[in-house]
């Protein structure tokens, strides 16, 4: 009962929060001088949404992007966790790899777009890669920070119990690093969407990023908004999933924080 009540309240806040946003938006479009092909009214976007929902095109593009995002997230996550582990453990690995990792973060995707297209083709892979690339860094950094925050005494405990590496990872490092790691995942999950969308901007003929491009090309700003909202929804969904995981895994910490 109690949990249920909390759930209702959470959803209440979300609805409130969305209604407030809609209200501000309506006010803004009503009173500002901005024409609706630059900033459409809620109702126009709603109408456009119904159309793309009915003809199934929104679903189609959203699923493509979702697919890119999920693969990108998985790829970026795995790479970040593995690299992060070795970075946290070895100074030498950290020193040699760091510059390249930072570099990989700051290379603008458009600058290497030709290479991506040549190597990965015009399909889904380049988008997965851009998504993975942007996920990688925050997760990596928080993996490292999280691992460094594991109390030394607990390492002693695990050593004294003759835990093997694997057990040390599973039973100590993962749970202890989890709060900070999940912070990284929150960031990464949100960024993964923008990564895939940016990949789609560079060149694609499907996906929500493409839909934004189409809308822009046709001066169909309502469509742009529909696509953007779907992108935001995707982000919120992923973010919500991470929060859900946090609530599950970090209940021991919650009690402390509240």
């Amino acid at each position: 009962m109690k949990d249920f009540g909390v759930g209702i309240r959470k959803i209440g806040f979300l609805v409130l929060s969305i209604l407030a946003g809609l209200f501000l938006w309506q006010m803004f479009t009503t009173f500002s001088q901005i024409p609706s092909f630059i900033f459409p009214k809620p109702i126009e976007v709603w109408d456009r949404l119904i159309i793309v929902l009915q003809d199934g095109s929104l679903m189609k593009h959203a699923l493509i992007t979702l697919q890119e995002v999920l693969f990108g997230l998985m790829l970026g996550l795995s790479a970040a966790i593995i690299t992060g582990y070795f970075l946290a453990k070895s100074r030498i690995v950290e020193r040699v790899l760091s510059p390249y990792i930072v570099a990989s973060q700051s290379i603008p995707i458009v600058a290497i777009a030709p290479l991506l297209v040549i190597w990965l083709g015009p399909g889904i892979f380049s988008k997965i890669l851009t998504s993975a690339l942007i996920v990688f860094f925050p997760v990596l950094v928080n993996t490292v920070v999280g691992l460094k925050s594991v109390p030394r005494e607990l390492y002693d405990l695990m050593r004294s119990l003759q835990a093997n590496t694997w057990q040390r990872i599973i039973k100590l490092e993962i749970p202890a690093a989890m709060p900070v790691f999940l912070g990284g995942l929150r960031i990464g999950a949100t960024l993964s969407v923008i990564g895939a969308v940016v990949g789609e901007f560079v060149g694609a003929d499907k996906g929500l990023g493409f839909l934004v491009n189409v809308g822009r090309g046709l001066y169909d700003t309502a469509l742009v908004f529909v696509a953007v909202f779907t992108i935001v929804l995707l982000s919120l969904g992923l973010y919500g999933s991470v929060i859900f995981i946090e609530n599950r895994l970090l209940s021991w910490q919650k009690r402390n924080g509240d």
């Binding site: 024409p35 092909f37 777009a113 030709p114 040549i118 015009p122 003929d205 700003t221």
Partner: protein, 308 residues
């Protein structure tokens, strides 16, 4: 009509920010020349170039945030169909600049040869796509008869590495770069098969109604630049150096070729004039492609009032 002030600028100069639709490039030589030769100043205009995205220009002019923009022809009907009150007031290009480019060994000489080929373009939007579809439609092919690949603005690279077989690009740009790298190419020019409205200057209805004199001054200066460039290509090219970073260090022959190739597309007789049938064709193509849902009144979309 308005004459240039004889003794130079008298009053305040009108400041105009002009979205160019692309980064600084030699194809804009007429505009650089017009500024450098003082044509804009003669007409009381202080011109600032703005290299933001193309669609930004259309939207900003539509919203009357700006008065003018340089745009690609198909944008005008598309935007008007969405209710943007823009008007095309000056044709810069006569010929639609899009071409299909392939290495000669591919043996793509006519549009019919495209069937079954892998054709790369930035994506199913914009001038390249319109050009491709117009060409295919003209010779009775469907989009499904080719393998369309969306590669972003990387056509040169994918053709060079044989990642694709045919690319869609601007005749004054990609093919020239590729030739410079030593590739033998076949070109199919869209404009050889069909007249389409091409690049030009737009303004919005409000400016046209309330300050037609400004439009006239602006168009006159621009046209003077185009004319100057056509008559003095070498000199116009020289003006580019001031505006284009890194031009000194680029391959100048290639760049000059780019300029010459664009000049072949210019509307020169009369300057600034856009052909009504090109508008009809464009509207037909866009309707057929579904890029416009309804027909628009083309009479409102453009005017030849300012052509010379």
């Amino acid at each position: 009509s308005i004459q240039p002030a004889n003794d130079g600028p008298t009053g305040e100069l009108t400041h105009i920010r002009l979205p160019m639709g692309y980064i600084p490039n030699v194809q804009y030589a007429p505009f650089y020349a017009a500024v450098e030769k003082g044509f804009f100043e003669e007409y009381g205009i202080e011109l600032e170039f703005d290299y933001s995205y193309e669609t930004d220009g259309v939207a900003l002019v539509g919203a009357n945030e700006l008065q003018f923009s340089l745009v690609s022809g198909e944008q005008v009907p598309i935007a008007r169909a969405q209710g943007l009150p823009i008007v095309y007031v000056m044709a810069w290009y006569e010929k639609y600049p899009v071409a299909l480019v392939s290495k000669t060994e591919q043996n793509v000489k006519t549009p019919q040869d495209l069937a079954g080929k892998r054709v790369a373009l930035p994506g199913p939007f914009g001038a390249n796509y319109v050009g491709l579809r117009a060409l295919l439609g003209e010779v009775g092919l469907q989009e499904s008869d080719i393998i369309m690949e969306s590669v972003g603005f990387n056509q040169v690279e994918v053709l060079a590495t044989d990642t694709t077989e045919v690319i869609v690009g601007y005749s004054a740009n990609e093919p020239i770069q590729l030739k410079a790298q030593g590739y033998d190419l076949d070109l199919i020019l869209v404009s050889d098969y069909l007249d389409l409205v091409s690049n030009g200057i737009i303004t919005n209805e409000k400016t046209l109604a309330e300050d037609p004199e400004l439009v006239e001054r602006f168009v006159s200066a621009a046209l003077k630049g185009i004319q100057f460039a056509v008559e003095n290509p070498e000199e116009a090219f020289q003006f580019c150096f001031k505006y284009i970073e890194g031009l000194e260090d680029a391959d100048q022959d290639v760049q000059f070729e780019v300029l010459q190739a664009s000049m072949e597309l210019y509307q020169t007789d009369p300057y600034g004039y856009s052909h009504p049938e090109a508008w009809e064709n464009m509207q037909g193509v866009l309707l057929q492609m579904g890029l416009m849902k309804k027909e628009i009144d083309l009479e409102e979309a453009y005017t030849n009032e300012f052509s010379q």
